[in-house]
């Protein structure tokens, strides 16, 4: 780790002021991504602004149309929150399968989506559920938020405050974990609202994407069997030590079928 200045503001305004005044600042949420990267000396922020004490970033609220989760909410809190489990159980279950207990007790929703790791789980949920991201300056639709490999629509200094998920009829998430890291080799989130079906895939591309053919098939018939005979092209999919593009293409279909089965059972 290189040297840095540590700050812990209590409000969004103070955080913004600190950010503007610093040379090369970074917000620090749960630190589960940022701290390891700093320990490896792959990042050298001049200032770390710990946003953990900012009240506006905490809390989970639900009504019959939407579920809203503060950016600083940990994966463990999402996984165990009754409001989440009642309104979108697939989201609670997703959070419960991120990393290990230590990671879930520190890592946050805001940190995960700000980082936009191509193998992270949450981006699939946000895109499939049609969530919107409330930042310190605007509201961004999930699909516009995740722009590329570790890239988001966030501007310099812009902070995620909360994420709002419209409540769906049913949803299911299926993840094939990387055997080493247990991030998603591929993860498929299937969600159905009224007439629409949305299917988002994480882990397989540079960033989360929607699988149009699968959506169309499931819109006609929302059952796993509807995906028989559909295949996904391996072109442009990730390929690494643990999974080739071709294998990932296979996993997308297999997992979509299983996620649809879960959604049907939900």
């Amino acid at each position: 780790m290189y040297e840095f200045q540590y700050h812990r503001p209590n409000s969004l305004e103070d955080a913004a002021k600190l950010f503007d005044a610093a040379g090369d600042p970074q917000y620090l949420a749960g630190g589960q991504t940022l701290i390891p990267v700093m320990k490896q000396r792959l990042a050298m922020p001049s200032d770390l602004i710990d946003i953990g004490r900012i009240g506006d970033l905490h809390g989970i609220t639900a009504d019959k149309n939407a579920l809203t989760i503060g950016a600083m909410t940990t994966h463990a809190q999402v996984a165990s929150c009754d409001k989440v489990r009642e309104s979108i159980p697939a989201l609670a279950s997703l959070a419960n399968h991120i990393g290990d207990p230590a990671v879930r007790n520190r890592g946050t929703l805001g940190g995960s989506i700000a980082n936009n790791d191509p193998a992270a789980d949450y981006p699939a949920a946000l895109v499939a559920l049609g969530a919107s991201v409330q930042t310190t300056s605007r509201e961004i639709a999930a699909e516009a938020f995740f722009t590329g490999l570790f890239e988001t629509a966030l501007e310099e200094g812009e902070m995620i405050v909360k994420v709002t998920f419209p409540v769906t009829d049913c949803a299911g998430y299926e993840k094939f974990p990387n055997p080493a890291s247990r991030y998603a080799t591929v993860g498929v989130f299937v969600a159905r609202t009224k007439e629409r079906v949305r299917v988002a895939v994480t882990g397989a591309g540079l960033s989360v994407f929607r699988a149009g053919d699968i959506e169309a098939a499931l819109e006609t018939d929302f059952s796993p069997d509807a995906l028989d005979g559909i295949s996904i092209s391996a072109d442009g999919l990730n390929s690494d030590l643990h999974a080739s593009a071709e294998y990932r293409a296979n996993l997308i279909i297999v997992l979509a079928r299983r996620a649809a089965a879960k959604a049907n059972a939900a």
Partner: protein, 779 residues
């Protein structure tokens, strides 16, 4: 007293310390005036070091010393010696041992090879300085695969070693084997790899070196498995007398072989400590652990089995190309040669065997013994070829094995590989394992799996392995007048529980409360010699030394008891912690005898206070033969290729069981490492660049609790060995001998309907999926 007897499941005494964070590992130790070292490592697999410019780094804040290969060469230290038990080629000429210096001089030969040592007031300052050292490399073409390294035109790693060959080796009767093959009805042949893995101990390596100018001597605290052998090694390098180096291993968080070796870092630290006159600490981070801890296995083999028309095994022929990495390291040349040869053929009755091997240098981190060191490789080889033979001959694999196991009434015997198999009952263990595994319910379980879209498979894998490591061990016992007893042993626990099992033996034998016995290990001042940890020798050697010491103490105490009871030693019996005069039936407790041993007035005239203190060296004549039988049931998901090891059974013959709780722990841990090798663990180097691809836990997959099946374990204790006074055979490495073949064969059994006959380890989901999907896919 009984609850602490031999055979009792005494809970580990050390666990309270470990589980409450009170263990003292290297990084828990500090010293006044401590400074910190980091190692600059080669980023290239193969490169000339043209120039190292550390002028800027020298001036950076806190920097105290920078040592490069050239500086090291100027000091004229010796290369780190190899201690391989196999020292010669087939021709009798010595093996090729390139000089392994603590820092690369002129050329770096693997990614992670130490290039410079940087010492600073803080670790961060040392890292800052390391980053500003400019090393001018000229990259050379690397070769990382041992088979490619032997090909004509392969990059040459050592200018004066032709063809990258360290040594060749053979064992067995070639003529008899070839003859049996020529006459056989069936020959089954399989090429396979034992994948390269690494230990990933939870505590990475680290050390603190100190130098005392007044006595011109060194103190080294080191996360090692073997203080005595490594003291000799480090003293050789620094050209000092070993008695000038006090080597201590505090609590060590796992070793599995990877902390056994003579590593380059400790001599560098000792040198820096003397140069600076300050204690120097170095702690490896996880990346360094992957790059710079020795790796294991990595053998490419061809295994051939000759059978008659009835499926009787006639001969076995194995040829192996072992990867040594860039150097011989400490015992590297031993593993693919004698280490893998001795237990060829496992527990089967095979009249003729021949094993040959070539050990090759490559541009990779060197290999050294890793849990099992050759025996898991041999076990995998025989079990895979037997499974294939069953498939090819159309015989039930269970039946084929049963037909060929060595029968109990043919023991003792020497195998064609020269292994002395003294006691055991392989057919009985095999039958017990089958019985445990509920074969009657299997067909139903297959149906249930199928209903869930899964393929189920079963395999049974008997194994026979052997102990190893240093053939001598020391145990010392000292008594204090307050009743405490101190037991010092030269074998070493890196987490296995010697602090419990060895006092348990002493306490049980003497009939004293083991809680009164303090245990000391891992200290060159505490025992005059010690073989440390390795080769499943903890109980076999350490325990036998303790037993010998206990017998010594009893013999002396008998004299005191006779004196106290006005009797003669010949009339005194000893049982359950008490000496009894067989004539008068008068008795006296061991504890009273111990108390009396401090008072001259109560002792015979030829004995002195403190006379019970004892130090003995136990020496083995023959290595032991742990054996057993594993069986696994797996489910395979054909859509994803995922494997779930669903059920697991083991019956082990470790001879006498001292503490079943600890023995079971060894088996489970061994199975975890075996399962890891079979299904997920794999060290991968990029063939073109020679970069380490699996350099972190993000890419190197380890089994976790949820990867493990429920294991049903049993011990067979009816055949203790007479090779040592405890009757123990060793338990530490058996798990990784049995697990890979049991699991891999079970998977292949599940896939027999798909026509899959072989998949190389690790059986990753993609490989399994591809094997099933077969021709339907483009390559």
């Amino acid at each position: 007293m009984e609850k602490y007897g031999i055979g009792q499941p005494v809970r580990r005494k050390e666990d309270v310390r470990f589980l409450t964070g009170k263990g003292v590992y290297i990084d828990d130790i500090s010293r006044p005036n401590l400074v910190h070292a980091v190692i600059l490592r080669s980023p290239h697999a193969h490169a000339k070091i043209l120039k190292i410019d550390s002028s800027e780094a020298q001036t950076m804040p806190g920097v105290l010393a920078i040592v490069t290969g050239q500086d090291w060469e100027r000091e004229d230290f010796a290369p780190i010696p190899t201690r391989s038990a196999v020292k010669t080629k087939i021709s009798g000429a010595p093996l090729n041992q390139p000089p392994r210096h603590c820092l690369a001089i002129e050329r770096a030969r693997y990614v992670g090879e130490p290039v410079a040592l940087i010492v600073a007031e803080s670790s961060a300052q040392a890292q800052d300085a390391a980053e500003s050292i400019e090393v001018d490399y000229e990259e050379l073409e690397p070769v990382t695969d041992q088979v490619k390294a032997l090909e004509p035109g392969a990059p040459q790693i050592w200018d004066d070693i032709e063809g990258n060959i360290c040594l060749d080796f053979e064992l067995g009767d070639k003529q008899a084997t070839d003859k049996a093959f020529a006459a056989a009805d069936h020959v089954v042949s399989l090429e396979l790899r034992n994948n390269r893995v690494t230990a990933v101990p939870i505590e990475t390596r680290g050390a603190i070196a100190e130098y005392d100018a007044a006595s011109d001597s060194y103190l080294l605290h080191n996360a090692t498995q073997n203080v005595h052998a490594n003291r000799a090694t480090f003293a050789d390098v620094l050209k000092i007398s070993p008695d000038k180096l006090h080597h201590v291993a505090p609590d060590v968080g796992g070793g599995f072989g990877a902390k056994n070796s003579g590593y380059p870092e400790p001599p560098l630290l000792l040198y820096a400590a003397k140069k600076l006159g300050r204690p120097v600490k170095w702690i490896a981070d996880r990346n360094e652990s992957f790059q710079g801890d020795t790796h294991g296995r990595d053998q490419a083999s061809k295994v051939e089995l000759a059978l008659d028309s009835e499926g009787k095994f006639l001969a076995l022929r194995t040829s192996t190309i072992g990867n040594l990495g860039a150097y011989c390291f400490t015992m590297g040349p031993f593993t693919p040669t004698a280490g893998s040869a001795r237990t060829q053929g496992g527990p089967y009755d095979i009249p003729a065997m021949f094993y040959s091997a070539i050990a090759a240098f490559t541009n990779t981190m060197p290999l050294d013994p890793y849990r099992g060191a050759g025996r898991p490789e041999a076990s995998f080889q025989i079990e895979r070829v037997v499974e294939l033979a069953a498939r090819e001959l159309g015989i039930d694999p269970v039946e084929l094995r049963a037909r060929n196991l060595m029968r109990a009434d043919t023991l003792p015997r020497k195998t064609p590989m020269g292994l002395d198999v003294d006691t055991g009952d392989f057919p009985q263990l095999f039958e017990r394992t089958l019985k445990m595994s509920d074969r009657e319910g299997y067909a139903k379980r297959v149906q249930e799996s199928r209903a869930r879209g899964l393929r189920r498979g079963f395999a049974i894998a008997p194994y026979l392995e052997c102990s190893g490591g240093m053939p001598k061990e020391f145990a010392g016992v000292t008594f204090a007048s307050d009743g405490t007893i101190t037991l010092s042993v030269g074998s070493q626990s890196t987490g296995m529980g010697h602090e419990t099992s060895l006092p348990q033996i002493l306490g049980a034998r003497l009939g004293v409360d083991m809680d009164k016995i303090a245990y000391v290990q891992g200290d060159t001042d505490a025992t005059p010699l010690g073989g440390g940890h390795g080769g499943s020798r903890g109980l076999e050697m350490g325990g036998s030394a303790v037993m010998t010491a206990a017998n010594d103490i009893i013999a002396k105490a008998r004299h005191i008891a006779a004196h106290m009871l006005n009797s003669t030693p010949d009339d005194i019996s000893f049982a359950n912690g008490a000496f009894t005069d067989v004539k008068t039936d008068q008795n006296i407790a061991m504890e009273d005898v111990i108390a009396a041993s401090f008072e001259q007035g109560r002792l015979p005239s030829d004995m002195e206070p403190g006379c019970l203190d004892t130090g003995v060296t136990y020496e083995r004549e023959l290595i032991t033969c742990p054996n057993g039988c594993h069986a696994a049931e797996v489910e395979v998901d054909p859509e994803t290729g995922s494997i779930n090891v669903e059920r697991y059974w083991v019956v082990d013959d470790f001879g006498t069981i001292i503490n079943p709780l600890l023995a079971e722990g060894q088996v489970m841990g061994g199975i975890a490492q075996g399962l890891g090798q079979a299904l997920m663990e794999n060290i991968v180097y990029d063939e073109e660049s020679g970069q380490l691809v699996t350099g972190s836990l993000m890419d190197y997959a380890l089994p976790r609790a949820d990867s493990m099946p429920n294991m049903q374990l049993a011990f067979f204790e009816d055949a203790p060995t007479a090779k040592n006074p405890l009757g123990v055979k060793g338990a530490g490495e058996a798990g990784c001998c049995g697990a890979p073949p049991a699991i891999v064969n079970a998977v292949l059994d599940a896939l027999k309907g798909d026509g899959v006959t072989h998949i190389e380890m690790p059986l990753t989901p993609e490989k399994v999926w591809r094997a099933i999907a077969g021709g339907k896919l483009s390559p």
